[in-house]
Symmetry: D2
Subunit: 342 residues, 4 copies
């Protein structure tokens, strides 16, 4: 059994970790911390867990995190970087679901996240936890930077094309739409039901924090810098990201075969038949990324549709996938989830 | 392994049966029929099942249903009664998710369902599949009438009170609210997103088909006829039923203890602390009925709140629970589902 | 032209007053105050008002409210009672959309609202602004207590029955469902889209602040105290209240005629044909209360369905209706709104 | 008074015409036809109209349409072309809200709409009813092809850029998201609440009927053929279209000024400050198109955000705007609508 600690379990990635780990045959949740809610039964805050999780939130000091095999940080940005070193030194492996270790260029990170980084050396050591790209490094990683939700959907959509050099990497467009849970479980006016319901809008169209994370990944796959325009939108659904990606083809090739081959051994990437339309609900609650290709009017513009559940493949599910890889467990263990439809 | 057949798998109770049975360790789905869609891969209609269910819909004649151990009817009312006898004669056990065998009084049934009954003798033989009441008979039943969604939520809420004779059974009120999936996967204007979204209304307030089913059950628990007013409402959520029940107390008693004791051994009924408010999302995708009691202003009116997922405990989950009981499997097998929240 | 001031315009009743008054032919909005947002153009916060309202929020001190003909308080409970006297003394008429002046029994008010009342004498002088009951007093009132949203829907549904003495007033049940905008434009976790969306629950089932307000009204119409059980629910729609009311008949009468006659001259109460089901969307954005009667199975229980838009007839529309009456304008002026459907 | 007839009033554009025309000071609705619902009061189907519209649906033969000044066709594609000539011959002006007269190239039309055109000569004579482009021709037009919903949002967003030759017209991308009412009031499984709710997907990504309509318009503004990739999406809101448009700049210019000047006299196009994010709810129920510009990272890609209500500026509101222009009425008459927010 892998002994698991969770820091900051009162948000949506926290409850989602609990949902997944409660049914994981090889994970034992040792502690879940929340300074503010210490003492409260977890199931009082998240009533879906009644009967499944008997833990109470505990104060980080009392949590015994240093005796865990792995600690997940389901915290706001800037927390994990304060606490990771102590755990790593104690031999605990760390998976950060926030952005602290995702971007290798510290100047870029500090510009977009507006704070000084607390441990630059750990950034260099961290492994970006996208298994479809970094599976080997993840196996032995001590510190995982779990990818962001948009970055997961967008990178998996562009990856085969950039690796194969099939598109003009200087002009990529990612038009992405997210459910409201992506904004987290924070009391804010903009994500109230009466504000975000029956409404659609773009936000941060001039620049969103996930842009440098995506660009870093795409540049790596392309072997050179990329030009990416990324526009996120808020859409009135709870879970789900749908990325619509546009790229200009630079040559002819069997693109469908390219995608199918690239992902043929990936348990959590599903390439649909050419011309399909993946729906977010088909992956609601599941760890799957579904991808489909279109080539409108047979022209040079390729459209890639990519759908995930932002809380699963876009966050907690991917984190558990990383844990499985790190601890030599079957990668799909505890993650063979079927989307809830309808 | 229990060999399972499903008749009429293109509706919501059908896909939900598939979602549950695909992960059930002792069930083998042998066939799923649809005259209209014969030949189509199930996962083409229900994309959440891609990678989990490889079956195609098949014509009932080719399905080999008579070689199954159990056949679920996930069909409209009036179908199972045409086909059950042949299967029963072949030694196949039958679970009907529709209403064909729910009401013992054939005159009542024919009045509310507007058709002649095809096999009155089977009605007499059928067991009403509410495990919290009929567990023993279910074990040996050949034919199960799986309860309706509203009837499950309402009966479980009133049951302990009527068994204990604590309330005036002549004046019971059930104000019930259902998600739109309760109307099924039928092309109808009234359940379009643009009609049912951002809208709330009662329907069938003067009389709904589930009224006689509920009344039949309540009368049995009370040991005498009951007076029930039942008003269903359509609410803009996909899954979920919330029943708000009102009853007049006829004496003093520890009602919370009454409920907790009645359901202490029930794996799928969760009595919340007195004064709680069960949320439908806490059971979204789960087979649980959550119940809470209120006694406003300490008066004589008791308010019982009861929440289920209409497609799980209100339909397919309960059907699988019945299957588990019938075949001597652990009752919770394949049903230890955690609600999807958020 | 009636010179209008609005105190506290950053909530939903505030923006709704602006939407209605911007098109009102005899109202001139002089000032709208918000300490926190002073200086911000109103249309920056409420983009629907761009091109329709050019005002900026201003500090209350700079607002010149004492030169208005009428001031609306669209503020949290406890604000209007601090500021009303000064305005009234200056000859300004006041309409409070909050609860400060709704309950005549100060002990009751203080118990439910948890604060000391700042001006008990003004409570005695205030007129409860339900035009269908108090039209004459409203004409000359200086201070209006605009009714709550639930109280409007519930009182209009029970009113004819209690006035006529047709039901057992000791056992009334009001099962009410509200859209999320009823909770206001406050940053709170419980009303986030990802919390309140695709979810249904009761809340405050053991006691809600609107209970004493409703009971006070019903007792007046009945001429004696009433026994009321009131259970509010949160439903995933933005606007709308649907109240399902239950009462026991004490005699025979043409109830449909009773309702039609009681409301025949009321411009904003629409009695539907017997057996109808009013939908909240039919009054979305409109000042109408639609009511329908049911008598299930011809028994002694009468079911009354009552639907309003909580922000219009349940708040700002009713406030403008009161203003029209107070200033001798046609009662429907600026309020001939058609519900937005779909 | 303009005497108005409506053919085919049982869909969403029909009820929306009624909502707008019922309050229009110079329009008199003479008849609204529906073969299927002849005799039914309009308000029985659309309860929001109770008390506002007293008409019944009537059979087309009895409607006296030839005595109207103008007839709106709120019908499926292919109906208006069968009936327009007779009305035009009788001197009645015609506004078709469907696609029959939108595309000048008959071969293109026949390919995308899959039918033979019934009156090619009328296509040549029809005026495309986008007032921001064709105001002068609309004044005297006998036959108006009212633009589609996507085409309105997309064309208004690209128009100033193409007229000014500021972007590479050979590579335009329109990623558009529509509320479900855009699919009409037809009983179909795909637009059921339980299918389209809490879900997001692209559809017709390989080719949608609105593509040739948009391309035709853009080519005209550019003075040469354009290369457009258009991907529509279904989003779980009732009303609203949000188009996110991408274009490559070919030179430097003050783009914000360009847009502001182009639309400075347009009553129904609102150019927001640079870097804004128009929300669909800000135009819910209103005839306004709100547009904002972004230039992410100061690069060469321009992002244009364009939001409308698909049933108002995208259909019935624009049709009434055309009627106003045709009959010499103030263009904004009856259309000074404020979006319903929240």
């Amino acid at each position: 059994m892998v002994k698991v600690g969770i820091v900051g379990g009162t948000g949506y990635t926290g409850v989602e970790l609990l949902r997944l780990l409660a049914r994981h045959p090889q994970a034992e949740i040792v502690a879940i911390t929340s300074r503010k809610e210490a003492g409260m039964p977890v199931a009082d805050m998240f009533p879906n867990l009644r009967g499944h999780i008997d833990l109470r939130f505990c104060d980080p000091q009392d949590a015994g995190l240093d005796k865990c095999d792995v600690v997940f940080f389901a915290t706001p940005n800037g927390i994990a970087m304060q606490q990771a070193r102590e755990l790593l030194t104690a031999g605990v492996r760390v998976i950060d679901l926030a952005a602290d270790f995702r971007i290798q260029d510290l100047g870029v990170w500090q510009k977009w996240y507006g704070m000084e980084h607390a441990c630059p050396d750990l950034v260099a050591q961290a492994v970006y936890g996208l298994p479809e790209v970094n599976r080997e490094q993840i196996k032995t990683a001590q510190l995982i930077a779990n990818p962001g939700c948009y970055p997961t959907a967008v990178q998996l959509g562009f990856l085969p094309l950039l690796e194969a050099g099939m598109v003009d990497e200087s002009y990529l467009i990612a038009d992405a739409k997210s459910g409201v849970s992506g904004a987290g479980r924070k009391a804010e006016v903009g994500t109230l039901f009466a504000e975000a319901g029956d409404n659609f809008k773009a936000y941060a169209a001039s620049g969103h924090r996930h842009l440098p994370e995506i660009s870093q990944g795409l540049a790596r796959y392309a072997g050179k810098p990329v030009g990416l325009t990324f526009v996120p939108h808020l859409t009135p659904l709870i879970r789900g990201i749908h990325a619509t990606l546009y790229a200009r083809l630079t040559g002819e090739s069997d693109l469908q075969a390219l995608f199918e081959q690239r992902y043929q051994d990936e348990p959590f990437v599903d390439v649909l038949p050419f011309g399909s339309h993946p729906e977010t609900r088909s992956v609601r609650g599941a760890n799957t990324c579904r991808i489909a290709l279109h080539r409108p009017q047979g022209g040079n513009t390729l459209v890639i549709l990519s759908a995930i559940d932002n809380l699963v493949k876009g966050a907690s599910g991917q984190a558990v996938q990383n844990m499985n890889i790190m601890f030599g467990l079957p990668e799909t263990m505890g993650l063979e989830l079927i989307g809830l439809l309808p």
